[in-house]
């Protein structure tokens, strides 16, 4: 079998398949369903300095080949996350990326500081793009100056490589990517969800209590592929690509567009073992075409 390992900002993944934040709990929940060590990495649910309660329900809705969510970043806060959730992942042979959220630069920095000396966490993913948080969050993600500033502030304290996670809800994603690069980011994750809405016409109500939510799943894959391709042409940072990956073939499409690794999100809800199936699907693709090193595929379509 060919080499499947890739490197993101100096961190080696045994294969390019990670899981997407918010769709994989704190990781440990999946131990009933898959062997986590088969994954290149996993990303934990966004964590903030204090516990967040999130939005009222309904928080999720199905859409054509996709779904909307407005969880509102409910999380137990950094204390419980470090003491309980990360400890469950200690010793598991996969790269743990902690996803960080906040309303203000200070809140992000606080979490990053707390994680700096934690040796379970190998990568930080900074969510400056969640559309479900009213204050802070979204403005960082759509304003290049703010994205630059928050990246710089985080880099001052971070001990792990910093992956900035970008929103697709912008006119030109390359501007944001360049701002993060200028701020010192070690990599980029894209895409977060597209802002969407659904109305229940029988109840004459919004399907989500929050009215709007984030669209994910195969429906958004073409947008994600386009953005990965654009960003790869615009910056020199490794990209973790995501948005609608269901199969190994979808993952290969992201690699060819320019992603060094991929994250599997919504697919985990369709099948708890989806991420492992993606790994197997890539293997099959490689052996079918006799690919000896997966790195050959990365950005191979010009």
């Amino acid at each position: 079998m060919g080499n499947m390992s890739v490197e993101i900002a100096g961190v080696k993944l045994k294969n390019p398949v990670m899981t997407a934040s918010g769709t994989f709990g704190s990781g440990a929940e999946f131990m009933d369903y898959i062997d986590l060590s088969l994954l290149g990495g996993l990303t934990t649910k966004g964590v903030s300095d204090v516990p967040w309660k999130g939005n009222p329900t309904p928080r999720v809705a199905e859409t054509a080949s996709g779904m909307l969510n407005a969880i509102g970043l409910q999380n137990p806060g950094i204390d419980v996350f470090i003491k309980r959730d990360l400890e469950k992942l200690r010793g598991i042979d996969t790269v743990v990326m902690a996803n960080v959220c906040g309303h203000t630069t200070e809140e992000y920095v606080e979490v990053v500081k707390r994680l700096a000396d934690n040796d379970v966490v190998k990568l930080l993913e900074i969510n400056i793009s969640c559309p479900n948080v009213k204050a802070g969050g979204i403005t960082f993600g759509t304003n290049p100056d703010a994205a630059f500033e928050v990246t710089k502030a985080i880099k001052k304290y971070a001990k792990q490589p910093v992956i900035m996670k970008l929103t697709p809800n912008v006119t030109d994603i390359t501007e944001l990517a360049k701002a993060c690069e200028a701020g010192g980011a070690d990599g980029l994750s894209l895409i977060n969800t597209l802002t969407g809405m659904k109305i229940d016409i029988h109840k004459r109500k919004f399907a989500l209590a929050n009215k709007t939510g984030g669209l994910s799943g195969p429906a958004v894959k073409p947008v994600a592929i386009r953005m990965v391709y654009q960003v790869r042409k615009a910056v020199n940072l490794p990209i973790i690509g995501m948005g609608g990956i269901m199969t190994g073939e979808d993952a290969v499409e992201f690699l060819m567009a320019g992603a060094t690794a991929v994250s599997v999100g919504t697919a985990n809800f369709n099948n708890p073992a989806a991420s492992v199936h993606v790994v197997k699907g890539i293997e099959e693709y490689m052996s079918k075409y006799g690919i000896s090193d997966i790195n050959e595929l990365i950005g191979c379509v010009e």
Partner: protein, 266 residues
């Protein structure tokens, strides 16, 4: 440790019980062996545009033959597709069994069960197991009208009282009206309450049980995305800070769907 996985379950039976309610038996193998009363399974629609699971409660468990019975109402495209599956030809993808069910082993001698509409099916396995455990079960079932379902199944294991919205069968009114009419809790020396049904009914049951100081277990519904406790889509507010989430929210899919009425805010 054996990993749980999505299975492709053969449809063994798929019949109409009432205007829009269907009963399906599926070949679930070890999933049936591990199933607990009050748990649910996630069923998937065989259509690439519909990615999320349809949570359906377990109505009956045939552990020996590895079979599960699921009773569902056709309300949208997913359940409509289920209703067209052909026994012995088609299969259905399923993950389960999921969640925490009714504490059939921990009740007192005499359990009062309130079921409303499509909340009725999970109570069937509960009465079967209560009876097996030597306990008395009294069931109050609420329907819209006399187009009922599962009533005869319940009669095999429990005393059944019926309430209908339009009075076309049994007591006219809610299940609580019916219970009050015969002073059920008192008459049967009830020790515990189980319930599943629409939210207004559950609120009534909570009040009924708590005012009598009875442990009252209610099965909740919420929109789900994962069904396995990882997306935080399906939460219900809790009185106390939840052990898992560290906020006043608990996951219906993983920590429920059955909760003690005093734990949750509904």
């Amino acid at each position: 440790m054996e990993l749980k996985s999505k299975i492709k379950a053969k449809i063994l039976e798929n019949t109409k019980l009432s205007e829009d309610v269907f009963s399906m038996w599926i070949e679930a193998g070890s999933m049936a062996g591990e199933a607990r009363t009050g748990q649910f399974v996630s069923l998937y629609v065989n259509d690439g545009s519909k990615l999320l699971p349809r949570p359906i409660s377990i109505c009956e468990i045939d552990r020996e033959n590895g079979r599960l019975r699921l009773v569902y109402r056709v309300v949208g495209e997913g359940t409509k597709a289920f209703s067209k599956l052909l026994p012995n030809v088609d299969s259905i993808e399923a993950v389960g069994s999921l969640g925490k069910g009714f504490p059939v082993d921990k009740t007192g001698d005499s359990v009062l069960l309130f079921g409303g509409g499509i909340g009725i099916p999970p109570l069937l396995e509960a009465v079967k197991e209560l009876k097996k455990n030597g306990k008395k079960a009294v069931v109050v079932l609420g329907f819209r009208n006399k187009d009922t379902f599962l009533v005869e199944d319940f009669r095999k294991y429990a005393e059944v009282i019926i309430a209908t919205d339009d009075g076309s069968l049994g007591c006219r009114g809610t299940v609580i009206d019916a219970a009050n009419e015969i002073k059920a809790a008192e008459k049967y020396g009830i020790t515990d309450i189980f319930s599943c049904g629409p939210m207004p009914m559950l609120r009534g049951v909570k009040e009924y049980g708590e005012s009598r100081g009875l442990p009252t277990y209610i099965s909740l519904e919420e929109r789900m995305a994962c069904g396995i406790g990882v997306c935080l889509g399906c939460v219900c507010e809790t009185k106390e800070v939840d052990h898992h989430s560290n906020v006043n929210n608990t996951r219906v899919c993983k920590d429920g769907p059955v909760f003690l009425s005093t734990e949750v805010v509904i």
